[in-house]
């Protein structure tokens, strides 16, 4: 599913965020990416989301070399990738239902289909009763569940989560992890960046540890 070969990301002043990274993540895997702050976890996810370009090396997702994609191909690729961020990134001017349904809308789904899809994922995260609420009216855990619902509204084959439990207490963190495990059980490849060792231990999946931009452990 994901393959990197000698992947490096060099920022200005000669600072490497990632250095000579060679990783393989299989289709349908659930993998944790961990390491201390500044280890390069978020940079790796940003490269996979094509928010940044690698300085050296190659990234392949589903056999496609990401560095050769055209603008239109990038759009196509991103439609197959879901994402969840620590700060939720919900749109404050839209209610819960609109936050979710606008993803299938901008992907061109007919109204009836996108409404059905939005309601379906809302029900799955257990927040259908909050569909008319605005993000400011929701707790952190609820906001993250909405963010997860939005991420799966486009039926992604790959889900990237950057510190999805960073703003949540342990119970809510485990709840969010259970949702991610359910998504993975449906066949979606899930890559979670987190520095929460306890959570990794509880979930118990393959873990890639980065430090100063290099892989230091795969367990």
């Amino acid at each position: 599913m994901i393959e990197t070969h000698h992947l490096s990301k060099l920022y200005s002043r000669g600072l490497y965020a990632l250095r000579d990274l060679t990783i393989t993540i299989g289709k349908g895997e659930f993998v944790f990416l961990t390491g201390p702050s500044g280890a390069g976890k978020s940079t790796f996810l940003r490269l996979l989301l094509l928010q940044e370009r690698p300085s050296e090396g190659e990234v392949f997702v589903n056999g496609h070399d990401l560095s050769t994609l055209s603008r239109r191909e990038i759009q196509e690729y991103r439609r197959s990738v879901g994402f969840v961020f620590q700060d939720f990134k919900l749109i404050p001017t839209r209610n819960v239902f609109e936050n979710i349904s606008f993803v299938p809308e901008v992907l061109g789904l007919p109204q009836a289909q996108r409404r059905r899809k939005a309601f379906q994922v809302l029900k799955w995260v257990g927040l259908q009763h909050r569909m008319n609420a605005y993000p400011r009216d929701l707790s952190g855990g609820e906001q993250q569940r909405i963010a997860i619902a939005r991420a799966v509204a486009s039926d992604p084959t790959l889900l990237l989560a950057d510190e999805p439990t960073g703003n949540l207490d342990p119970d809510l963190s485990l709840e969010v992890m259970n949702l991610l495990r359910e998504i993975n059980a449906g066949g979606t490849t899930v890559l979670v960046a987190t520095h929460d060792r306890e959570l990794i231990r509880l979930v118990g999946r393959r873990t890639i540890t980065l430090d100063q931009g290099k892989v230091v452990e795969v367990a």
């Binding site: 990134k89 749109i91 901008v106 486009s154």
Partner: protein
């Protein structure tokens, strides 16, 4: 089609959310459209009147006081034979004096001190429209002016031509001013739309991350500009109409006298539609410029 529907809905929602700053953009476009609309209103009315006056153009042959009846007969015979006239009328010195006292009643008292009648006799000639176009009327005027007994020949066409030439100059200057104001309005729209765009950075980032087509990302900003432009043009049309009504109320009698019984008319539907389309185009241009910052 879905992208257009989405763009209009989101553009409208954004316009409503930022209606305070949006009002500035609408006002800027309205000002530009008022200049352009006033120009169109003026030139359209003047052109209409010019066409009306041109179709009824006439020339007057003023006779010398000592012109003999033979000389007058020769003048009228030449005019009648020319084949370019729709009709003619002899106005004697007494008729001319009486007409002045009727038409300029305020000045009539001045004529009481006259010892002699100062108004010359004349032959008023109505010219066929086709004779004006092909130059035969001009040739006749030149020939008549050279006949004995003729003091002067006044041909309406000269001042109509001067008016038409002045109108072209006004149109050129006004159009230039309207273009400058339209550009300024487009810049204002772009600034206002960009303000809204900056407030929606998170939303735009998410749209890009989910792989939204460019039309979905940029479309709402263009639509917002188009809507602002359309509203601005409608405001301008409303104000112009009110202005015309007010002018009619204040100076209706004077205008009617000056326009020989005619009146100023508001722009026809096709020009109103053009003005609204122009406003929408200016707004859309501003929105399009701002939308470049969305991706």
């Amino acid at each position: 089609m879905r992208a257009l529907d989405y763009a209009i809905r989101e553009g409208w929602a954004s316009l409503w959310r930022s209606r305070g700053s949006g009002a500035f953009a609408v006002l800027a476009i309205a000002l530009a459209m008022i200049v352009l609309g006033a120009l169109l209103l003026t030139t359209w009315n003047v052109e209409r009147l010019l066409a009306q006056w041109s179709s009824a153009a006439e020339f007057s042959v003023y006779l010398q006081d000592d012109a003999s009846s033979e000389q007058r007969g020769a003048i009228e015979a030449l005019i009648d034979r020319s084949g370019v006239i729709a009709g003619r009328q002899y106005v004697s010195k007494a008729d001319a004096f009486g007409r002045f006292r009727r038409e300029f009643a305020d000045l009539a008292s001045l004529t009481e001190d006259f010892e002699d009648n100062p108004f010359p006799a004349s032959v008023e000639v109505r010219v066929r429209p086709e004779a004006q176009e092909d130059g035969r009327a001009d040739a006749l005027v030149r020939r008549v002016a050279s006949l004995p007994g003729v003091a002067d020949v006044r041909y309406d066409r000269e001042w109509l031509a001067r008016l038409a030439s002045g109108l072209s100059a006004v149109r050129g200057a006004g159009f230039g001013l309207a273009v400058v104001m339209a550009l300024a309005a487009a810049v204002t729209v772009a600034s206002v739309v960009r303000l809204g765009l900056n407030a929606r950075r998170d939303e735009l980032e998410i749209m890009q991350l989910v792989g939204s087509p460019i039309a979905f990302i940029r479309g709402p900003f263009v639509a917002e500009g188009v809507l602002q432009g359309g509203f601005g043009a409608l405001v301008a049309l409303g104000l112009l109409w009110l202005g015309l009504m007010a002018a009619g109320g204040w100076w209706g009698n004077e205008l009617s006298l000056f326009l020989e019984g005619g009146s100023l008319q508001f722009l026809p539907a096709r020009l109103c539609a053009s003005l609204v389309a122009g406003g929408m185009a200016v707004g859309g241009l501003g929105g399009f410029a701002a939308s470049r910052y969305a991706v």
